[in-house]
Amino acid sequence: MNATINHDALALILEAILLSSDKSLSLEQLEAFFSPDEQVTRADVRQGLTALRTLCAGRSFELKETVSGFRLQTRAYYQPWVQRHFEEKPAKYSRALLETLALIAWRQPITRAEIEEVRGVAVNPAILKTLQERDWIRVLGHKEVPGRPALWGTTRQFLDYFNLRSLDELPSLEALSTHTLDELVL
């Protein structure tokens, strides 16, 4: 190795190379970043990487060796913050979903057929699934009619989400049909 480069300086060069790379780099690939007159051997690269690993102690990122080589990656500790890069903007729920949820809230226990009867259209099973996954609705039992359809109702999580202590706090259907929304104290 060239006398003008020590292993700490080499570690920083490797850091710059890895930080500007979009993929992992093998020892061989890293070696190729140096020109022949720099006389950086594979052993030097190895030592440089060891020095780099030490340099990264106490930083937000670490040197990671994978099957395809080396890369710098943020430490698991920072996941909660870093994660937000990948959070997608929440979609909006469809009108069909909100109406289904409203019917389950005000008319529980209610079967899917009953929801369909009021809404006048079929309920997409995906809607019930979404609402279930959100823990807002659950099956309370089964109606004793042919097919034993599930009876849906809302959950404690539903009340929590909407800041309600009980379903009594929902405006009554009478109030809904005779008053405009603004008149209802929300």
Binding site: A16, L19, S20, D22, F61, R71, L72, Q73, T74, A76, Q79, V82, Q83, R84, H85, F86, E87, E88, K89, P90, K92, Y93, R95, L98, E99, L101, A102, L103, A105, W106, R107, Q108, P109, E117, V118, R119, G120, R134, R138, L140, G141, K143, E144, R148, L151, G153, T154, F162, L167, D168, L170, P171, S172, L173, E174, L176, S177, L181, L184, L186
Partner: protein, 272 residues
Amino acid sequence: MVLPIVLELTPEASTPLALVWGEPLATLPNDLYIPPDALAVVLEAFEGPLDLLLYLIRRQNLAISDIPIAAITEQYMAYVEVMKVFNLDLAAEYLVMAALLAEIKSRALLPIEATATTEEHDPRMELIKRLKEYERFKKAAQALDDLPRLEREHFTAHAEVERAKQAVLLPEVELRELLLSCQAVMKRAEVSAHHSIRREPLSIRDRMSKVLSALQLNTAVAFEQLFTLDEGRRGVVVTFMAILELLKAHLIEVLPQSTPYAPLMITTVETA
């Protein structure tokens, strides 16, 4: 025709052309093979007539305002002739400039009084102004190129992230939205006449759900256990009505008593 030009033609592209232009142009045989791109390369080194003029002025270490117009015009015309000789697709701008130079040169030969009257349209001053302006931006382009930039001096530092679990942000819903939905769906249902919406106090509906869920957890629940005495008389009534509604809807049933006055056991309806 004066041809002092050919070899040191451009600052950048002289090497490949030396072979072609080793001899004075006038002696070039017509059938000499000229690499078709050669002159194009020369011309590409100039960003137009202003750039070529600047080069000619600079070559003589002159300030723009001191242009010896006659000499420069001759040199400029020589270049244009070269371009023509090689049948180069000469940009019209070069010819326009040639005409302008010729005009300035001929004016210079006129008596001073004749030119003084048209001073505000002095094409020489105009040209000098344009040359200075162009040179300014030639420098600006160089300054821009000298700025440290991404993908050359700097690279965005990037570390990988292990994306173990994807956080999904769920849509937010306001109670107001839910109310609007309920209002909308109810209105639609009322419009279609054959649906009569029974209006029941919500508290009974709520209690029906609670009773059903209590029964979900246990196979059978004592009737008394379904009541919360702390709720007072109204609560008891509501629960009782809820149980009656559920019985009416055949959602729950009362198990047969094993002995008289044994506790009433309530269970969800099981059908085979």
